[in-house]
Each structure stands twice: as structure tokens, then as C-alpha cells.
Amino acid sequence: MTRETERGRLKLALGPLLYYWPRTAVMQFYAGIAESAADIVYLGEVVCSRRHEMRFEDWVEVGDLLAAHGKEVVFSTQPVTESEGDLKLVRRVVQNARWRVEANDMGAVSLLAGATNWVAGPYLNLYSPQSLAMIAAMGATRWVAPVEVTQGIARGVLAERPAGMEAEVFAHGRLPLAYSARCFTARRYNLQKESCAYRCLEHPDGMLLKTREGLPFLVLNGVQTQSAKCYSLVPDLASVRATGIDVLRVSPQSAGTVETLAMLRALCDGASSGALPETDTCDGFWHGRPGLELAA
């Protein structure tokens, strides 16, 4: 019996929406996702607390729609909180009685401790089996690896897998690489963050940053910095499976997300090949290389 059949079918997760879109665009997007190949959908604002197109109640509405279509819905908390207002939202997400919660900082973990069946998000910096065991004892049942995780580190973390613990990796999309207190989109327009005029709305896939030699390098998305290249573990599915990963995370883009999910589903189910929309992909992190490299 192979590891793959032991662990069953790879599930597909859609990570939280990282960009700022108008409410109607968000609603339309998730109506499409309801019909997509995603098994799990993470919801909520995880980049900037100034973004307010989607209120808490709107996310609840989206969640209900997705749940009605058989999706597992998970509510994600903010990785970086600054104000009491931010903390209030974390408490509200944690105390939502409907869905699982993805904790993205130790404040959320603290509020969840004693609860069961929550998700340890990619920002908790869990790199060892010892830390995974601790978080399992606090009630977590899924580990989302940090985006920079290597195959070797993931194998090490999962060597002593707690009972019932699932493992998820970032498998397709622009890597969320860093968070700041400063807003780089506002900075581009010489605006202060506090009066940013919500310029992120004009950039549905962030703003491309190039080197002075014209090389596309990063993407600025408000207070978040992403990779310009699309990280993709599509060439690595065999080693991803062999490592004991259960869930592949796809990160939303303004176009092609439903198609990416469908293609990944087909590849996971045994299709020999398929064309994904992105051509310039990278997978260096998984191989212990610089993230921007294509190592497979």
C-alpha cells in the first residue's frame, strides 16, 4: 500500500483572498468558487484592516453559500493586529459559531486554546514536530506550513504526526512573502496609510515591482509583499504526496482561479498533464533553494 492511498485523496483549498476588490466582484468570485473544484475555502480579510468592502456579515453570507455547495468553510484571522479594533475582529472570528477558524497569530491561538478542530495557519511559524505536538494539544487539527517550508522541513514536522492532524502547503499562486506596518501601495501614490484613498481597489492583482534592469520581481499589495512569479508545486506533486501532505492551497487571482482549481484536481486525480495559465513559475522553497528558482 502506498503512502498516497494511506492518506487518501489530496484535497484542494482556496486560500483567503489577498487583494482588495469591490464587494460585488468578491461576491461574484465566490459564486464561481461555489461551483469549483475547491474542497475547502478560507475566508476573511487577512491583509489590511482598513479594507471594508466586505463586512463581517458579508463574509458570513459567502460562507453560507459555499457551505450550501458542500465546501468546508474556514474563517481566517489577521496575521498582524495593531489596534484594539483589530483584536475585536479576531475575537469575533474566533467566536463565530458556524465554521472552523484558521489562527494566524498567537493572540488567536490563545483565544482558541481549549477549543477543538481549528487550523494552525501559515503565519504561526511551526517548523518542528515539537511545536506541532503543542499546537495539537491545544486543539488544532490542521497544520498549514509556512510558505517557505522545504520538503525536508515538512517531512521532519510530520515524522511524529499527532493523531487526526492534516497537513496543508501553499501550492499555487503568488507567495505572500512579507507583512509591514507601512502601506506600499499608498507609498507609490505619496499617500499616508491613514488616508490611502483605498488605491488597492485599482489593482486587482497588486502592483508589479521590477528591478532597474526590468526584471519582474515582487508584487506590492498594500502592507503585503508578494512574489511576482507564480509559485507552483504542480511539477512536485509526487514528492508533495510522499511527504504526507493532505491539502494543496491555491491563492486567489482576479482571473483563472476556477480553471487552476479544475486543472489541479485533474492532475491530482491522475491526469498526465495539463496546461496551467501561468508560464513563469517557481518552486524553489520546496527544494530548499531560493524561492524564485524553478528547481523541479
Binding site: 491561538v109 528591478t211 532597474r212 512574489s227 524553489g284
Partner: protein, 331 residues
Amino acid sequence: MDLVCPAGSLPALKAAIDHGADWVYLGLRDSTNARNFAGLNFDRAALLQGLAYAHARRRKVLLALNTYPQAATWRRWTDAVDLAADTGVDAIIVADLALLDYAHRTHPGLTLHLSVQGSATNYEAINFYQERFGVTRAVLPRVLSLAQVELVARNTSVEIEVFGFGGLCVMVEGRCALSAYACGDSPNTFGACSPGHAVRWEETAAGLESRLNGVLIDRYAPGERAAYPTLCKGRFEVDGATYYAVEEPASLNTIELLPDFLRAGVRAVKIEGRQRSPAYVAQVTQVWREAIDALRAEPERFVPRAQWIAALGRHAEGSQQTLGAFSRPWK
């Protein structure tokens, strides 16, 4: 208010103590700390000499074990915790959940500080580390405003430490994979940002160029002040404009905020720069010692002296100093 100063070598430790540091923080010569640079830091013998020097003068030594251990190398980190306990280090600075747990269970007498790499920006997180592991001090990431620092300090009995001077991470510490993306080594797991082996400086017809694993970070005209070759301090093109897209090369300098720190309940100020030489440590420590003493003597009348500003300005990266996130306009 405690003054916490950096040391990358024994002479730097002596310089810090001779010039008035209350605490000196240092790391071992491996990936257990976030300044894992070739030739920097302390081996066991240097650590013992440093401890003896500090303790003879009633100052304290902090060992930074602020990176994230992995399965294959777990023992490296726990051995370092054991070494700290055995040699009488006054406290360790830790970020990793499981390592805090190990230290708390194995050496209940060892004082624990939460590292800035632990990314704790709110009091719920800080109180969690206190309840679980008995953490007594937390270093805040350089992303909070003064009002936000005060909010944290008012809602916890854990001592709050903030960065006062030195290199400025514009990204939330522990939440930045930019260096790993460009050149492989990760601050979280390997303890290095923009490691020397990936850095190239080249004098070209267009100016002095810095590259990280081949990626052009910046190009300096003759006489233009240079910066560390980190991604966040480079010049790039966004939407037709070429500029410091993330952050100008600048050093944090908060000396004028000392009275505000005092009011906000801050208990310690940290100077960045374990990678810098004994000359920097001596000069910067001396200025901050004088400033904190002046604050203690007459908190209501505290005004930064011109010679302090000048002395600190000499060491700044790039051409300017900033109040960082403590000031709202910066955000």
C-alpha cells in the same frame, strides 16, 4: 528603563559594558540566532569570558536563541538552552513555541524573554506566552505606533521592550521571507537576512551596484550614501516610477521619544547591531546611557542634546533617521 545593547564579539561586549549597557545581548556561532553571519558571535569560551566580565560589573547577559528549530537540528537549540542555564546566562531571548516550552520545563529558573521574531503585536499573544511559559519580557515588533505600544503595555504585566536605535526592519519580524525568496537562507530557520555569500558589490560605469543572488538591488551614484543590500532598502520600478519602493535606507532613532516610552510603560530600550563593530557599540551605548540617565534625573525636562543627535547620525544607514512606526505619518 533598561538599556539593552548588542555584541557580536567579546570586545563589543566589553565596549557595551564599559559605556553603560545594563544588559548585553549576544548569540552563538550557529543558526540558533538571527545574526548568523560568518565569523560573528560567541563560542563557549568567549561566552564564559563575557559572562565573567559582565557579572563582575553587575551587568546582565542575554543569549538570543531567536530562530526556529527544525526536526533534524532540534538538539542544536536545546543544547544552546542547556548551555545558557549551565553557564549562568541571565536570560534567553526565544521565539519558538516548543523551545520556550523546553526551556520552561527543563530549566524553571531560567528567565525567558519573548523575541521580536515571535511577532507578538498584541497583549493576547504576550499574555499567552506569560501564562504558558512564564515569559517575563517581550520585545515588540517595529510596527506599532506609540499609542499601540501603550495599549499593549497597559494590558499585560510582562515587561515591554522596544527598539530604540539602529537598523530598521520595515517588515514584521518573523513574518518576512523576502531574503529567502531571493537567496535561499531564511531568517526564521537559518538566522540570516541577505547573507554575505549572496551579496555582490560591483563598481560599474553606471555606479556602484549591489546584487543579491544576481538580482539588482540598487545602483548608487558617486558620493550617494549606500545601504545594506537588503531587498526592502533597494530602488525598484513600480508603475513607471523608480524609487525606494519599500523603504528609504534609514536607521531608527527614537531618542526624542524616551519620555513617551516612559509614560507608555516601556521597561527597556534595545539598540540594534550585533553585526557591527566595537566602535559602533561603544559610541551608541554611551549616547543612550547619557540620555537615559538624563531622563531619570529630570523626566519632565528631557530634551535630546545636539551632540547625541550628531553622534547617532554618523552611524545611520543611508542619509536619514526615522521614528519608524512610532510616528503615525511614517505608517
